[in-house]
């Protein structure tokens, strides 16, 4: 059972990691917890289903297109909801984020209905169903696809952040917006593009989860969002490698906890981890504790 739970944990952990890096990147550049990120995850799944069923697209194309839509949604979210509040106090931004999250959830309910719907599994590539049975556990092609997709996206993200000019600009904006602007970086553009990257990865995660568990519903982003946020905090909010590690650790912890302790409190494990980490080690694995200073003038 241990190895099977490990496989499950790594799978779901990879998904949490994908969503968590979205949270952490956005927090890094604008110090805002994007509550609506879970909704982009959900929209990724729904868009993909619409593309596949409504327009007859093949799976891989729908996957890439859903990622593109996720990117666009992220950018729209920034431009419409968050950018006008760039100078506003944190409370206003947090409330706006929650408001957008509720708005998007209900918009999805309006468009696609609130009943859970299945993913058209007959459109998945055939090799997803191939199963390899080992003595202690089994592995399907879909597991491998998720591992591969997750690893590729993580590596891609890491490369982008470390080696490209855009990555450097992102790191600069995260460090100090004013200085970055003085150095000639278009801060607003970098922030919006960060949302795009975060959104595309979130949408990919949503699509994979929807297909893997064969169930899509408008509130699926809520729970996944909270857990991924827990993962981001665990890894140290603002740190991308931290979010990746945090996601995997949380996924494995959840799978082990659900398997060995209590499956009823499966979701509670994430909340518990989150609270314990925030209260006792707010810096997480790799993060730096951000002290909020209230301006007195």
């Amino acid at each position: 059972m241990f190895l099977q739970q490990l496989v499950n944990g790594l799978t779901i952990g990879g998904i949490y990691a994908l969503i968590a890096v979205g949270y952490t990147m956005v927090y890094g550049v604008i110090q805002l917890i994007n509550f609506a990120h879970g909704e982009i995850y959900m929209l990724g799944a729904f868009f993909a289903v619409t593309f596949i069923l409504g327009m007859g697209m093949p799976f891989y194309l729908a996957f890439l297109l859903a990622m593109a839509c996720g990117a666009i949604c992220g950018m729209l979210l920034d431009v419409i909801a968050y950018r006008p509040l760039r100078q506003s106090p944190r409370l206003a931004c947090l409330i706006t984020a929650i408001g957008m999250s509720i708005f998007l959830q209900n918009l999805a309910m309006l468009i696609w209905g609130s009943r859970p719907r299945p993913f058209p599994s007959d459109t998945l590539p055939a090799w997803f169903d191939k199963t390899w049975h080992f003595s202690q556990f089994s592995l399907t092609g879909f597991h491998l696809f998720i591992f591969a997709a997750t690893i590729i996206m993580m590596l891609g993200l890491n490369l982008t952040i470390k080696k490209t000019r855009f990555g450097k600009a992102m790191r600069a904006v995260a460090q100090n917006k004013t200085m970055a602007a003085l150095a000639g970086i278009n801060v607003n553009k970098v922030i919006t593009l960060t949302f795009a990257v975060a959104g595309s990865m979130g949408a990919a995660a949503g699509l994979m989860v929807g297909a893997f568990y064969n169930s899509l519903y408008p509130t699926m982003g809520y729970l996944a969002g909270v857990k991924a946020f827990a993962a981001a905090v665990l890894g140290g909010i603002g740190s991308v490698p931290g979010a990746m590690l945090g996601g995997i650790v949380l996924g494995v912890a959840e799978a082990m906890g659900a398997g060995y302790l209590s499956s009823l409190y499966r979701d509670g494990i994430s909340y518990g981890v989150m609270i314990i980490v925030i209260v006792f080690i707010p810096a997480g694995f790799f993060g730096v504790v951000i002290k909020e200073t209230k301006k007195s003038i």
């Binding site: 506003s88 947090l94 929650i98 408001g99 309910m109 209260v279 200073t293």
Partner: protein, 340 residues
């Protein structure tokens, strides 16, 4: 007597006679009682963002604790509601202090998330611990409050219909407003406002941040629990999915919409949002659309409020000033012809 006071007295008289008016139906009374209930909740929540400048996303947790305290004590022991009110109040305060003490050192974002996690854990606990709460089966048949005059030879009068609840709710709202008003004008309130306006200055005046924040959180939780206790014995049925995050957000909307920190503002906010919710429910079902979508309007309202009126409809000057901080008014610069 100022105009504002005259208005308040007039509204109170109106509230007292509403049930006697001819066009007032059972349903309308029910909705107005709901408004009073949410007024209590909004006044309780108002302490945290309005007086202290923190964000509490987990208010529904205390509401649920109060409701289940009331419901379970009634269900298992048949305890009188008049005993339950203080018990629920104290239980709420206890959990407020227990949650607040380790977490109120945290900065705003983290604190908000922790409160959110707490409320989710409360719902999970209520759902899973079936031996205690009957979980998803719900807790039915909670007895209505009753006034027991038998110890001096009178009858036992049980609440029937909406009318007794209506007047009880008014009394509870008045009591809550009274307490809030007195706190506002006390040392405690002033300490809170100092914390909200500038923590560093507050500390340098000798205010122990953690102690005052924990007191605030405890009192806020206590009023939430009190509202929950009323709710349990009014609707006589409880189930864990009545206490989801959505309720927290709704009460937060009322506080923000009405004007954070303004006692009367949040009451207006509660009245507006509950009415809007009911009106939308009717409109949407008349249009044949699913009724849950009215929440979409709330999300949109919050986004628009934060964009254009972050301090609320009836803001108080201190909060309005804070919400304006950082916004720079851009003057339109005329482009004049320049050489080169």
């Amino acid at each position: 007597m100022s105009n504002a006071t005259k208005l308040k007295i007039g509204l109170l008289i109106l509230a007292l006679v509403i049930p006697a008016l001819p066009f007032v139906s059972h349903y309308l009374l029910h909705v107005i009682i709901l408004i009073y209930l949410y007024m209590i909740l909004a006044l309780g929540l108002n302490i945290i963002p309005g007086f202290n400048g923190l964000l509490d996303l987990g208010y529904v947790g205390f509401y649920g604790i109060g409701a289940y305290t009331s419901g379970l004590l009634t269900f298992h022991f048949g305890l009188s509601y008049w005993l339950i009110i203080p018990l629920a109040f104290l239980n709420g305060a206890l959990w407020g202090v227990l949650l607040g003490a380790p977490t109120l050192r945290l900065t705003g974002d983290y604190f908000a998330i922790v409160t959110f996690g707490f409320s989710e854990l409360v719902v999970l606990f209520l759902t899973n611990e079936i031996w205690l709460t009957r979980g998803p089966l719900g807790l039915p048949g909670i007895a209505p409050p009753s006034v027991d005059l038998s110890w001096f030879g009178g009858p036992v009068w049980e609440f029937q219909g909406e009318l007794p609840y209506y007047y009880l709710a008014i009394v509870m709202v008045l009591a809550t407003v009274f307490v809030m008003h007195r706190i506002q004008n006390s040392r405690l309130g002033r300490a809170w406002f100092a914390i909200r306006d500038d923590e560093v200055a507050a500390v340098s005046c000798g205010i122990n941040l953690l102690v005052y924040k924990v007191i605030a959180f405890g009192i806020s939780a206590a009023f939430g629990a009190m509202g929950g206790s009323f709710f349990a014995r009014w609707v006589t049925f409880l189930s864990p999915d009545m206490f989801k995050f959505w309720e927290s957000f709704l009460v937060l909307c009322m506080v923000v919409l009405g004007g954070m920190g303004n006692i009367w503002g949040v009451m207006v906010g509660a009245a507006v949002l509950v009415s809007l919710s009911e009106v939308l429910r009717d409109v949407l079902s008349a249009l044949g659309m699913p009724v849950e979508i009215r929440f979409l309007a709330f999300g949109l309202i919050m986004v628009l409020m934060m964009r254009y009126r972050p301090a609320g409809l009836m803001p108080i000057p201190a909060v309005a000033a804070q919400m304006r901080v950082g916004k720079v008014k851009r003057k339109k610069v005329k482009r004049t012809a320049t050489a080169g």
